[in-house]
């Protein structure tokens, strides 16, 4: 309760203050700045979706601002539309083009994504410049703010409109980003493969996130057009894009407040740069901050020397420059560069990331309380295991060029069993798992689940058919908490439509989901660490968490890819215990493992692979004595010479 009061209270107070300003201050200049603050606020919230949540460097956001502005401008001047339809059109153009750009950009990560967006931005500037008949080209486009309900919008009224829109966007985005959608965006950033394997779907979420962010860019563009009433293509270039990135990064990623702080910085920057004294004061403050945090980092050894010293050097350059340079305005790009550099290197969480921790301590903001764990029987109802064939592989093949990683594998996994899959390194175990789970398309053969063909070549569709897997090389969503890792994968709870989520009407569902996820965390013994970030957990706990996350899919078949790899002995025992408990619920398990004792203790049936083919199958005891297995693991057995004339082996 206290948490809600404090967080919502802060939002309410800030917006109330902002709303009353036009009644108190009459300076049109100040009002203009505040209007711009609201517009940039919306713009940066949109940019934060890709830069913060998706974790991609987006260099195309400025294009959506420009396209939105021109859409609104043209809607008013050429089509004679009113303000509301023009703004809607601007937003729709952003959504649509954002979605379109996301389609090719989908498969891309990191530098390629940045390049795709950069090219799009350059292309749209070219188009705005060259389509002179429509946009007026470099001449620019003049427009008048259309009246609303017959009233001309005076500056204070327009300001209120922008603020109201910012408040609405704020509220909707807060709900969305705290929901399953926001978590999916973040999951996507940390591990696209696991996101697909957990049945979430990277495809639609990446498109949705990018389109959404771009739509907000378009909306901000519409407001921009009505604010300045004059548009030029060269207002929307790379230079502005850098400033927008500065805003998001400096303010703090993944934070609405961060976007707000960033927008304030952007709006105030020109004033800061034009006043030399003010600039000297602020650069001095920045230097002191960098020095203090750098020294703290060095003393506590939490940062690398470069991370501590580089921002100090950059801020030092700013201070010296501020004293030497007559006209700071001339150096504005270098100043942006130094500020951005210091923040990216020294304060990666941004101002709000830093401040949020501090304020949370100061006001003792408690974590939102967690519900009681649900009953495990309700989450994972125990199923009857009848021993019927669940998964049938028939002559499965997967070749990589000339390498036959899996070469004609036929195997039946019976319902309710733990089926071991073992073999020396390079025998094709992992490839089998990757083919079944849809990462690789089989080169030949069939896979049937309960008699029906399993989709091939799609992690997502296999996951949705009831097969869940863990990963040998952990693929957790590192930045998310243990609880959130499970929530991302949770099946069957989230049913609310997008509008209900946006308006915050899906909270009951979220509580139920948390209760279920906690029950699963309890099963693996991590209930008490539900709020710890996955990457901060111990290695063993991370392996257990992979299982809990896979269980959240409520699967018929669970594939465990070396769940005990690299675990210390006590953790191996706990892992065996966890797998037994999962098995008791009637879930069929395929276990890939190197530890023979784990396999012996858990498995009903064991299939041994070598060179992509089955060399033995049976109970663990049978398999262990099988001569081919012994040979595969230990090499050619010494020739037993019946005549007895062989020389004794050297000891």
């Amino acid at each position: 309760m206290k948490r809600i009061l404090l967080l919502r209270g802060a939002e309410l107070i800030v917006f109330a203050l902002l709303a009353t300003i036009p009644l108190l201050v009459v300076s049109p200049y100040a009002l203009g700045l505040l209007t711009l603050l609201a517009i940039y606020g919306i713009l940066l919230i949109g940019l934060d979706v890709t830069v913060g949540y998706l974790g991609q460097v987006n260099l195309g956001h400025v294009a959506f601002l420009g396209l939105g502005a021109y859409t609104a401008g043209l809607a008013v001047t050429k089509l004679g539309l009113g303000m509301a339809p023009a703004l809607l059109a601007a937003m729709a153009v952003g959504l649509l083009l954002g979605g379109l750009l996301a389609l090719p950009a989908l498969r891309l990560e990191g530098p390629q994504f940045a390049l795709a967006t950069l090219s799009f931005a350059a292309l749209s500037t070219t188009a705005l410049n060259e389509l002179e008949g429509l946009t007026g080209g470099a001449q620019g486009l003049s427009l008048d703010r259309p009246p609303v309900f017959g009233h001309a919008l005076t500056p204070p009224l327009f300001y209120w409109l922008c603020m109201a829109l910012l408040a609405v966007v704020w509220m909707l985005m807060r709900n969305l980003l705290a929901s399953q959608w926001g978590r999916a965006f973040e999951a996507l950033r940390d591990s696209p493969i696991a996101t697909d394997a957990m049945g979430v779907g990277t495809y639609r979420h990446k498109v949705a996130a990018f389109a959404l962010g771009s739509g907000l860019g378009g909306l901000a563009g519409g407001l921009y057009a009505f604010n300045f009433e004059y548009l030029q293509p060269h207002s929307f270039t790379y230079d502005l894009m850098i400033i927008l990135l500065l805003g998001v990064v400096l303010g703090g990623r993944k934070s609405l407040w961060g976007a707000f702080v960033g927008a304030s910085v952007i709006v105030l920057l020109p004033n800061l740069l034009s006043n030399r004294l003010l600039f000297q004061i602020f650069s001095g403050l920045g230097f002191a901050m960098a020095l203090a945090s750098g020294l703290r980092g060095l003393v506590k050894k939490t940062t690398r020397p470069f991370q501590a010293l580089a921002p100090v050097a950059a801020m030092g350059m700013l201070v010296v420059g501020g004293l030497l340079v007559e006209n700071t305005e001339d150096w504005r790009k270098a100043i942006f560069a130094l500020m951005l550099f210091s923040v990216v290197v020294g304060l990666p969480e941004g101002i709000m990331g830093f401040l949020a921790l501090f304020l949370a301590k100061l006001f003792r903001v408690p974590h939102a309380p967690l519900p009681e764990p649900a009953d495990l029987d309700a989450v994972l109802p125990a199923r009857a295991a009848d021993g019927s064939p669940l998964l049938v592989l028939d002559d499965l093949k997967r070749h990589f060029g000339g390498v036959k990683a899996v070469d004609g594998l036929s195997m039946t996994v019976r319902s309710g069993s733990i089926h071991g899959l073992i073999g020396p390194n390079g025998s094709g175990k992992s490839t089998v798992v990757n083919v079944i789970s849809g990462l690789y398309t089989p080169s030949g053969g069939t896979i049937r689940l309960r008699g029906a063909g399993l989709p091939s070549g799609s992690l997502l569709r296999v996951a949705q058919s009831g097969v869940a897997r863990t990963f040998q090389n952990l693929q957790l969503f590192g930045e998310l908490t243990a609880l959130e890792n499970v929530l991302v994968a949770l099946k069957g709870v989230y049913r609310s439509s997008l509008p209900r989520v946006l308006f915050g009407l899906a909270r009951a569902e979220e509580r139920r989901a948390q209760a279920e996820a906690l029950a699963l965390l309890d099963l693996i013994g991590l209930k008490d660490q539900a709020l710890a970030r996955a990457k901060d957990l111990t290695y063993g706990a991370q392996r257990f968490l992979e299982i809990a996350r896979a269980l959240a899919r409520k699967p018929d078949l669970l594939i465990l890819d070396e769940p005990a790899a690299g675990l210390a002995h006590p953790d191996v025992l706990q892992q065996i215990d966890i797998i037994k408990r999962v098995h008791q619920r009637g879930i069929t398990i395929i276990l890939i493992e190197h530890h023979m004792d784990v396999v012996s203790e858990l498995c009903d049936t064991v299939t041994v692979l070598d060179g992509g083919r089955i060399i033995a199958e049976g109970t663990p005891e049978e398999v262990k004595r099988h001569p081919k297995v012994v040979e595969a693991y230990l090499g050619q057995p010494p020739q037993t010479d019946i005549s007895g004339g062989a020389a004794p082996l050297p000891a």
């Binding site: 950009a105 390049l115 090219s119 350059a122 270098a334 040998q472």
Partner: protein, 292 residues
């Protein structure tokens, strides 16, 4: 349409395209060792060109100015590596994208203030008079671009194949971890690649400046096309960038002729987005297998 005009446009466009290829080659050098590229490479081209201009204005002859410019480019490349790339690589993150953009911005602003915002001519002893070859006119200046591009690419490739240091470079490109285990310092090899890449960028600046003039914004269009060439060709094919560079140069020269000079940049950008959509590893790139 007169075919000789088309041929003329294609040839001079293709020669210009070699400059894109050269800058794209600079991306490949760093991508090979570190899987990173300098997003501020255009600014590197520009500051190196300005620095070389200053050397020329100080009275240095052309043949001394060129190595001076290359050295400066290498130095700036090392600055980028130290300040923008190393930390991000150590953290195995993608922070280098933003950081190299930021360092480029800083170079841009410094150049604006040190050398001014205006475009300036770049003197060269190579004549700009056209000579007639196979029905098209080319200038010695344009030919010097081709010679310079092939010379430095040849030298770098020879270096990679024939020297021990070059083999270390290839080893780190092939498998960073294995190379480290063999006692090769990956960090130093990445530094080397950034130094080489800086020199290559500087040469691109020196070669193109006499044709385009020198100014702070001289590389902003150039770099977009170099990106396009690198992505379309793939970030691991030196042969590919030359081919795609010449193709793109010819294409945009024709596009600006038929569609108007404002559309000059469009083909490269469209090609880049298409290539990313259809073949993210590039036309000549190698596909890799996803592993988990």
């Amino acid at each position: 349409m007169d075919p000789s005009i088309i041929g003329q446009m294609a040839v001079s466009g293709a020669l210009m395209g070699l400059v894109y290829a050269l800058i794209a080659y600079g991306f490949q050098l760093t991508y090979a060792t570190s899987k990173s590229i300098n997003f501020g490479q255009g600014e590197l081209v520009m500051v190196s060109a300005f620095f070389s201009l200053t050397l020329t204005n100080l009275g240095l002859p052309y043949w001394l100015m060129v190595p001076g410019g290359l050295l400066f480019g290498a130095l700036m490349g090392l600055v980028v590596e130290r300040a923008g790339v190393r930390l991000a690589l150590e953290q195995k993150g993608e922070g280098w994208i933003l950081l190299t953009i930021i360092i480029g911005l800083f170079f841009f602003s410094a150049a604006e203030n040190i050398w001014g915002r205006d475009d300036r001519p770049f003197p060269t002893p190579i004549s700009a008079d056209p000579i007639h070859v196979l029905g098209v006119d080319v200038t010695r200046l344009e030919l010097s671009v081709a010679v310079g591009v092939f010379a430095i690419m040849g030298l770098v490739e020879l270096f990679k194949r024939r020297t021990l240091l070059g083999k270390a470079f290839e080893a780190v490109s092939a498998d960073r971890d294995a190379a480290e285990l063999m006692g090769i310092s990956a960090t130093r090899t990445v530094m080397l690649s950034y130094g080489l890449s800086g020199s290559v960028a500087a040469l691109a600046g020196i070669l193109v400046s006499p044709i385009t003039t020198v100014g702070p914004t001289m590389a902003s269009a150039l770099i977009l096309k170099a990106f396009a060439v690198a992505v379309v060709a793939g970030l691991d094919s030196g042969f590919g960038v030359v081919l795609i560079g010449m193709f793109l140069g010819a294409l945009e020269s024709l596009a600006s002729f038929y569609l108007g000079s404002g559309w000059r940049e469009a083909p490269g950008l469209v090609l880049l987005i298409l290539a990313l959509a259809l073949r993210p590893t590039g036309v000549f790139g190698k596909a890799t297998i996803r592993k988990v």
